[in-house]
């Protein structure tokens, strides 16, 4: 499986190894990831609620959007960067995790949703800028945006519950999970470490919750 060969080489990079070998790097990177996506979701919601005519209805849509979106994008870029860092540390496990895959699909859908908006209601925003809500297509985009981002948060949280040693995830054919562990398992994980991570942190190893 070439993708697994690639992911294995990602895991073997100096940076990914440094994250695995450090007890504090992963938690700090994850915390920054959380800070960034709370800003992303919190600020996007401001725009979505304005599209729906549920809040800030007396304000110009374009004014709100320009006030908010630079922070959304800045935080999004940082969230992607920290996300890639976390991914590199345990690439094959994340890649084969169903919640991770669902989250990635949702992020693509969020992008498509923004593109649809830009090509439709966004293009004509000068005509409804002062109206209390967007045209119907803009409202649909707003609802979808809120639903997608809330789902992204749920999926993201579930990744943390399904990628640590001891979780019984179905083993993916063609992946030799023994390679992940770099030796005999350190116990405490009911013997079934399929789906486990490459955790090399000192014992005890808490789950990535």
């Amino acid at each position: 499986m070439p993708i697994d060969t690639f992911l294995k080489s990602v895991e073997a990079t100096k940076f990914a190894t440094a994250i695995r070998d450090s007890i504090w790097m992963f938690p700090i990177i994850e915390s920054i990831h959380v800070i960034c996506f709370t800003i992303v979701v919190g600020t996007i919601a401001v725009v979505d609620l304005r599209l729906l005519g549920l809040a800030s209805t007396q304000r110009s849509f374009r004014r709100i959007s320009s006030d908010v979106m630079k922070w959304t994008w800045g935080a999004f870029i940082l969230a992607v960067a920290t996300g890639l860092m976390m991914f590199s540390n345990n690439a094959r496990v994340y890649y084969h995790n169903p919640f991770f895959r669902t989250k990635m699909i949702l992020l693509v859908l969020a992008g498509v949703n923004v593109a649809v908006f830009e090509l439709t209601a966004g293009r004509t925003s000068s005509s409804w800028d002062k109206a209390p809500s967007a045209p119907r297509i803009g409202k649909v985009v707003g609802v979808l945006s809120l639903a997608i981002w809330i789902s992204v948060i749920f999926m993201g949280r579930l990744i943390g519950f399904t990628t640590h040693p001891g979780t019984v995830a179905p083993p993916t054919p063609g992946v030799n999970y023994e390679d992940f562990l770099g030796g005999p398992s350190s116990g405490g994980s009911n013997g079934n470490t399929s789906g486990g991570g490459t955790t090399t942190t000192p014992t005890p190893t808490p789950p990535n919750q």
């Binding site: 709370t38 800003i39 919190g42 749920f154 949280r157």
Partner: protein, 173 residues
């Protein structure tokens, strides 16, 4: 606190929650994260308005009227979801250095945010000079940074061992 955590673990409510743990814990944690997203987005909008970096077409009062209630209601949601998490996993939360440090930050952060969000709309004239002062602007930045620390400490509850001997959890092993 150890014995309180033990007692709480033995209560039937805690047991009921634990039976449903597989979906309840990630579900409630996700709602808790949505709550902090609402708080961070709203606090950011208020902070940017105070600093004059965004929302300058609105008065500060209009901005706090728009975002203040969201902060307050989301804080209430955090309290409820937080309590559910404590009842479900008492030892994970209560015997935890990150948790208690977070609670100190929560106490200070919500007090600062609360004084402003409740006090300012009530006494707008009296606050007028104050909100323009440099001290007030720095207090707003401090409050926002406190909430950033709250997020970090909240996440570190799951990794309390990184504090070494400060973490009561490491002493169990």
């Amino acid at each position: 606190m150890n014995s309180f955590a033990q007692w709480l673990t033995k209560t039937s409510l805690s047991h009921t929650f634990r039976v449903q743990e597989s979906w309840l814990v990630p579900g409630v944690q996700s709602i808790h994260i949505i709550g902090i997203a609402v708080i961070m987005g709203s606090l950011l909008m208020i902070a940017l308005r105070v600093l004059g970096w965004a929302g300058t077409d609105q008065t500060l009062r209009q901005t706090t009227d728009r975002f203040g209630p969201w902060v307050m209601w989301a804080l209430a949601l955090q309290l409820v979801t937080g309590i559910v998490m404590i009842i479900t996993e008492p030892a994970r939360e209560l015997v935890n250095f990150s948790f208690w440090t977070k609670m100190v930050f929560v106490a200070i952060g919500t007090t600062l945010a609360g004084i402003f969000l409740i006090g300012f709309p009530k006494h707008e004239q009296r606050w007028e000079a104050l909100v323009k002062s440099r001290t007030f602007k720095s207090m707003v930045i401090v409050t926002f940074v406190l909430f950033l620390c709250i997020i970090v400490l909240g996440r570190l509850i799951a990794y309390d061992h990184i504090w070494g001997s400060w973490s009561p959890a490491t002493q169990e092993y």
